[in-house]
């Protein structure tokens, strides 16, 4: 069974026939709808949110067909599937978390792509620095990345060979003794004299399907992200890829809000945080409003259904700004929800 089939089977078991299989496709794609976000929480599948953003419907159907054919599941019609005994048995044999073990899509879905783009650029630039080669094409053409890297090089004004050695050590250390194949990442890296492989080429060389490769690749990236976050002092260079823009937003937050944000990122909800931090509900809600103001990409859909959001926006754009009156016109919304929507609007405008 391929790792993707395993993953889909695991998800099918988790949703226990309460949703159609396409809820899983939306989850793996990382669809930003409140339904999908709620599902991710409800069925404890947040780790798999947005881990295969390019998985197509046809490919997904093929996986379902394969699982059907092998009798791991039966189809109840209308996109609804139930586990067979064989399927249950199969998953029970894995008490360990399902294979790509480092996946953490909920926490990293906004960061993994950026991390890879900057890491690959960093490796390429440093490799060319030590080769004293000034003529090469950056493999990423994203201007903010190029600017960031320039800044990074200036900040780390040490001998170029020391810089390369340090980066080598960090990558070597982070990839050693982990339950991953380092080649999944390494084959993609470009240096002064060795051009990295594309996703398809790497999959071909490692003799796996492109989809399987994509999942393993994202798994490696998430592993690195977790490792760097947990042991940031061991990875002074890699850590800098993470700080950047995030840090700016981060610095604007109060100490207490930062703590709340960390819990939210780990998947705790408001009730959990109230209990853990022994704070009032209103305080946590204040933190969330603050996060929505500072971080323009903060998703409020799990706190306010989109329809309610629309009603609030409609009312407020009609000139009514006072919470009390909005509340009277949109009785289904709480004060917290109204504040959150207004905060979100503000951060969207200021971008």
């Amino acid at each position: 069974m391929s790792v993707i089939q395993k993953l889909v089977l695991f998800c099918l078991k988790s949703i226990e026939n309460q949703r159609t299989a396409y809820a899983i496709l939306h989850l793996l794609n990382g669809k930003k709808s409140s339904q999908t976000i709620q599902d991710a929480h409800l069925f404890h599948l947040k780790r798999y949110f947005h881990v295969l953003p390019h998985l197509a419907r046809e490919e997904f159907n093929q996986i379902l067909d394969d699982l059907l054919e092998e009798n791991y599941v039966t189809c109840l019609g209308e996109g609804s599937y139930r586990m067979t005994e064989k399927g249950d048995m199969y998953l029970q044999e894995y008490d360990e978390p399902i294979i790509p073990r480092y996946l953490n899509g909920w926490s990293y879905n906004r960061m993994d792509k950026l991390f890879w783009e900057r890491l690959s650029l960093m490796v390429q630039v440093i490799s060319n620095l030590v080769a004293y080669n000034g003529r090469y094409l950056p493999i990423q053409n994203n201007k903010p990345h190029l600017d960031w890297l320039k800044n990074f090089i200036q900040r780390n004004r040490i001998n170029r060979h020391e810089l390369a050695t340090q980066l080598f050590k960090e990558l070597q250390h982070i990839l050693t003794n982990k339950k991953i194949d380092p080649l999944i990442l390494i084959l993609r890296l470009t240096g002064s004299n060795r051009i990295g492989l594309t996703q398809q080429q790497a999959a071909e060389q490692l003799q796996m399907s492109v989809l399987t490769y994509q999942l393993h690749f994202i798994n490696v990236i998430h592993m690195i992200l977790t490792e760097v976050k947990e042991n940031n002092t061991s990875y002074p260079l890699l850590e800098q890829i993470l700080e950047t823009e995030e840090k700016n937003e981060w610095l604007q937050l109060t100490q207490s809000t930062r703590k709340t944000a960390i819990y939210l990122n780990q998947g705790y909800d408001i009730e959990d945080i109230i209990k853990i931090r022994k704070l009032k509900q209103g305080t946590i809600e204040d933190h969330i409003v603050e996060l929505a103001i500072v971080d323009s990409s903060f998703n409020i859909d799990i706190y306010v259904p989109p329809e309610v959001q629309r009603n609030i926006i409609k009312t407020s754009t009609n000139g009514i700004k006072q919470l009390k009156y909005i509340r009277q016109l949109v009785p289904e919304a709480s004060y917290f929800q109204i504040r959150l929507v207004l905060a979100k609007q503000k951060s969207a405008v200021s971008v």
Binding site: N193, R194, T198
Partner: protein
């Protein structure tokens, strides 16, 4: 000038035509330069830009071409270059507009010149050179007429009448006259070089079927040495052939087409340039901006649409001047594919009838065409390209307050284009089936006479033996199995050398 050439670009000498063109441009003259493919046309405006005080505006027909040019400049460390086109999203566009004065090279498409905001910003700049790349696109007699190009002539005033450099690789006399007239550069300095590339031997091979063509292709690729390109008219066939080549033991092969993202495109181009790949199975998207000197052969699996693009594509071989091969494979009825492509690219009479009926039943529809794009696509069964033609025409028409009845003008243009394109295919067909010297055929088409005797001229002059494609021993990068070795190779190779 020579010093600048060495410092900025790392070349020690100019190629044919470059120096003359650059001198004319720096002297502030209008210049029409027809230089063969592979002769480094972009240098003709890149170098002068470093010598001129202001900004150079470069108008280019293809979006991918623009990005390639920006990348090329990045490669030599010039970051003040931007491709300002519809690929940029709103935010990036606004950022670019605000900072337009910081750029030394601005690449743009002709349609962008119709953006008021963009023109306003441009008129505030000191534009000291206007480059019209692929200038033959301005001529209705050219193989690649783009109505949007006609608009270039009308923005000259706003740009402050800068000196113009019109560049093309292949233009017949008629086309050259058209270029000068449209750009109002009658007193231009003309620098014209032969389209001939003497070190490329011209061959055609006829087979009986599609399958035989694939078999022959595999056999040829096995026998040929050195880096090569195989051109296809369809993405799908390119993929199929790349796969069969791999299955037949030719491993260092990759596909390249417009469907790849930026990272993939750069990686494959660079793998090819670094000799990590031998063969590229490509669509016409590949090649522009690829500066690889040692390409030994270019094979066409499908029939080219016209002689101009054929010359352009085979011109990527042998830039180092060493013997190289152009091979065109032909199976019966191959001409049908380019004919279908032409058909789908243009708007035919019955499509035009449907369009007219649609717009004339409700005259408002014409003025609000954008709203009806989906309906129009279905009603007139338009391809993406023909929809673009309609929109281009529409944009010009409403600027002149022309009603939907002006579609008759488009109909005339389309019919003329259709005829020209069929004739172009016919010319290629005759080239394939000719029994006399192929080089002579090509030169005749472009109004030139053969001047020199060439050893490995073509299959009619020298028989079906290919020239001796001398290939240097290429350093093959070992494919390590060990990830730490690869990482060392990337980050520590120079350090370890120093230690030794």
């Amino acid at each position: 000038m020579k010093q600048l050439l060495r410092e900025k670009f790392g070349y020690t000498s100019f190629r044919d035509g470059q120096e003359e063109t650059i001198k004319a441009v720096v002297a502030g003259k209008h210049t029409l330069a027809m230089l063969p493919t592979g002769s480094g046309k972009s240098l003709c405006y890149q170098l002068p830009t470093f010598m001129l005080p202001g900004t150079t505006l470069i108008i280019s027909p293809l979006l991918s071409l623009m990005q390639d040019q920006v990348d090329q400049l990045l490669l030599i460390g010039e970051k003040r270059a931007i491709a300002f086109n519809s690929f940029l999203n709103y935010q990036k566009k606004m950022y670019a507009l605000k900072n337009l004065h910081q750029y030394k090279f601005i690449f743009t498409s002709p349609e962008m010149l119709q953006s008021k905001l963009f023109m306003e910003k441009l008129s505030e700049l000191n534009i000291t050179l206007l480059v019209v790349d692929e200038a033959h696109c301005i001529s209705q007699w050219g193989h690649d007429f783009r109505p949007d190009y006609l608009a270039i002539g009308s923005v000259m005033k706003e740009l402050g009448h800068p000196p113009i450099l019109a560049l093309t690789a292949t233009a017949t006399d008629k086309v050259k006259q058209d270029i000068k007239k449209s750009l109002n550069m009658q007193n231009s300095m003309d620098i014209l070089y032969s389209v001939d590339r003497p070190n490329i031997s011209l061959h055609v091979e006829k087979v009986e079927s599609y399958q035989e063509k694939i078999d022959v292709l595999i056999k040829k690729i096995r026998a040929l040495h050195g880096p090569g390109i195989i051109y296809f008219s369809s993405k799908k066939t390119a993929e199929v052939c790349a796969q069969s080549l791999k299955e037949n033991g030719i491993k260092r092969v990759s596909i390249y087409h417009g469907g790849l993202n930026h990272e993939e495109r750069i990686l494959i181009q660079q793998q090819y340039i670094h000799n990590q790949l031998d063969v590229i199975c490509a669509t016409s998207a590949f090649g522009m901006g690829i500066n690889k000197e040692n390409i030994r052969y270019v094979i066409h699996f499908h029939m080219p649409m016209n002689m101009e693009s054929y010359l352009q594509e085979i011109g990527r071989a042998g830039r180092d001047g060493k013997p190289s091969l152009a091979l065109l494979l032909y199976a019966p009825f191959d001409e049908q594919l380019p004919m279908q492509l032409v058909e789908s690219e243009l708007i035919n009479d019955s499509q035009m009838e449907n369009l007219k009926r649609f717009f004339l039943t409700d005259s408002l529809r014409w003025w609000e065409l954008e709203k009806y794009e989906e309906d129009i696509t279905v009603i007139a069964n338009l391809s993406e390209t023909s929809m673009r033609i309609l929109k281009d025409f529409h944009r010009h028409a409403i600027l002149d307050y022309k009603e939907a009845t002006s579609l008759d003008e488009l109909k005339v243009i389309m019919n003329k284009q259709f005829q020209l394109k069929l004739e172009a295919i016919q010319t290629v067909y005759q080239y394939i089936h000719s029994s006399t010297c192929r080089r002579e055929k090509i030169l005749h088409y472009f109004g030139e006479l053969p001047t020199i005797n060439i050893g490995d001229c073509c299959d009619h002059c020298n028989g079906s033996n290919y020239p001796d494609l001398q290939t240097e021993e290429l350093e093959i990068i070992p494919l390590y199995e060990n990830w730490e070795e690869i990482l060392k190779d990337i980050l520590l190779s120079e350090t370890s050398k120093n230690e030794e």
